[in-house]
């Protein structure tokens, strides 16, 4: 019963002994004294092959029907998702069209983005020992470089 597992474990053991490692308790073929390695080697080298799944024609029909029904369900879910997205897009498009008809300036403002937006410099760094007054609500807004110019 010389499985690859047993053979490789023995070889490792002899190498270790030659290298000066201390002898372990008898019957211990564990590498580096770790029993988990034995289990890993057992699973890798000694595990038997699983038998193939055999289905009778009736069971095969059941399996195929189940697979088809599942595909149908996923198809229906995807269809719902796509339809929902399409509805949302249509509402957004209508809203934008109405805004365009209402006010050109507001529409332009809604469609464009601030290109020179910068990190908000008034952000307060968080501390472990904050002051009693965190934020002064009555303080007027500080002038930003953009508004200054």
């Amino acid at each position: 019963m010389s499985s690859p597992f047993a053979r490789s474990a023995l070889k490792a053991n002899t190498l270790m002994r030659a290298g000066g490692a201390p002898m372990k308790k008898s019957g211990g073929t564990s590498l580096n004294g770790d029993a988990r390695n034995d289990l890993i080697k057992k699973v890798l080298f000694d595990a038997p092959a699983r038998p193939p799944v055999r289905l009778s024609p009736e069971e095969m029909t059941r399996h195929e029907t189940i697979e088809r029904a599942w595909k149908l369900v996923r198809q229906q879910q995807k269809q719902e998702q796509t339809e929902g997205l399409a509805r949302k897009f249509e509402m957004m498009r209508k809203a934008n069209a109405e805004l365009e008809a209402t006010s050109a300036q507001l529409f332009k403002h809604s469609q464009t983005k601030e290109r020179h937006a910068v990190f908000p410099r008034q952000l307060r760094t968080l501390t472990d020992t904050p002051p009693k007054q965190i934020w002064n609500y009555r303080q007027p807004a500080a002038a930003t470089p953009a508004t200054k110019a």
Binding site: E58, E59, E64, T65, I66, A69, L72
Partner: protein, 366 residues
């Protein structure tokens, strides 16, 4: 699972049975056609739920079909316009697909298709057969046709939309090239002795309505010695063949035979001949009938001329190959009643010898 079976077998062998080798009952059971047996319910809950899902989906699709058919009826009544025809065609296509998808997931339909019990009047089977043709048969036909140059030589490259198969009778196909459905693979070699009689032409078209087709068997590899090339020969020509999804056989009774079947006869000394059977749809979507008189058509008419003159649209194609055999001599003697031609290469002329066979003289005597 295996244990009960073993017990059963032991029981049978031990029982006191009469010493008859075969009983009528057992023979009948073996010869009986397989019938569909629905899987039992209550064994697998997921399966029961799957059936419910499929039934719900079918109901939804049938309701959709009803609304689409109502819309179609309205469209047909509406005023004619250029866009209307395309709309009607698109709607009909949608209805066809919905009819197919409503039933395709049912286990009984799947079993019937796998066991060949196909009723082509139902949309679902037409759809499934169409898909099978596209995925399995068509790539082989295309590959063989391009590999053996049938398409540039006989006609320009096209995608067949109709499946044609020839049946020369039992024993005509060598075992290696026989397909699962009993027909030969496109491009197979057939023996001349087996193709003397007319074949049965089986056509799987996927359209519901009846259309008229022209069937032609052409040999593009007959040697043309004067022009040092090859010429085509028409072996068989039948027009006004009515075909549809349910009408699959080419029957001479309903059609007009212009040129009767001439058995393939590749002469000795020529390479393999590609005997191509073509199915061409007649003009106006296959609704027009053609009149061909014997003065217009001969065995030397090329396929290109035939198609351009009568406005035919080639839709299906199959071919087989043949090489000279002793049976070809028999065909020439009995069927064609001609002298058998034997072709060969020109005799090799040695350029270094003159007419008398002597070595050519380099110098002349002054």
């Amino acid at each position: 699972m295996s244990f009960p079976r073993v017990v059963l077998r032991a029981g049978r062998s031990c029982s006191a049975m009469p010493t008859r080798a075969f009983s009528v009952k057992s023979v009948a059971r073996n010869a009986a056609e397989p019938t569909y047996k629905a899987p039992a319910l209550g064994v697998n809950k997921t399966f029961d739920e799957a059936l419910k899902v499929i039934a719900e989906d079918k109901a939804k699709r049938l309701a959709d079909i009803k609304s689409m058919e109502a819309k179609l009826a309205q469209l047909v009544k509406a005023a004619p316009s250029a866009a209307k025809d395309t709309e009607i065609a698109a709607l009909k296509e949608k209805i066809f697909k919905q009819e197919a998808f409503a039933e395709i997931n049912e286990p009984e339909i799947q079993w019937q298709f796998k066991n060949g019990k196909v009723d082509m009047s139902k949309a679902v089977f037409r759809y499934m057969k169409g898909k099978q043709f596209q995925r399995e048969t068509l790539p082989v036909i295309q590959q063989r046709t391009t590999q053996m140059f049938v398409t540039p030589d006989l006609l320009p490259a096209f995608t067949p939309s109709v499946n044609v198969q020839l049946d020369f009778g039992a024993g005509s196909i060598p075992a290696e090239t026989k397909l699962a459905d009993g027909y030969f693979e496109t491009g197979s070699y057939l023996l001349p002795g087996k193709t003397i009689n007319e074949p049965k032409v089986n056509v799987t078209s996927f359209h519901d309505e009846q259309r008229y087709y022209t069937v032609a068997l052409v040999d593009p590899d007959m040697p043309d010695v004067e022009n040092e090339t090859y010429k085509q020969q028409l072996h068989w020509l039948i027009t006004n063949v009515p075909l549809s999804a349910t009408q699959t056989e080419v029957a001479k009774e309903n059609a007009d035979v212009v040129l009767s079947y001439l058995p393939p006869h590749p002469p000795k000394g020529t390479k393999y001949h590609r005997y191509t059977l073509l199915l061409a749809e007649q003009p106006n979507g296959g609704q027009d009938k053609i009149q061909m008189d014997a003065s217009q058509i001969s065995r030397e008419t090329t396929l290109g001329d035939l198609c351009s003159h009568f406005k035919l649209n080639v839709k299906g194609l199959t071919f087989f190959r043949q090489v000279w055999d002793k049976d070809v001599s028999r065909i020439f003697k009995d069927v064609l009643q001609q002298d058998e031609p034997v072709y060969g290469n020109q005799p090799k002329v040695d350029e270094l010898l003159d007419e008398t066979g002597q070595k050519k003289k380099k110098f002349i005597h002054m």
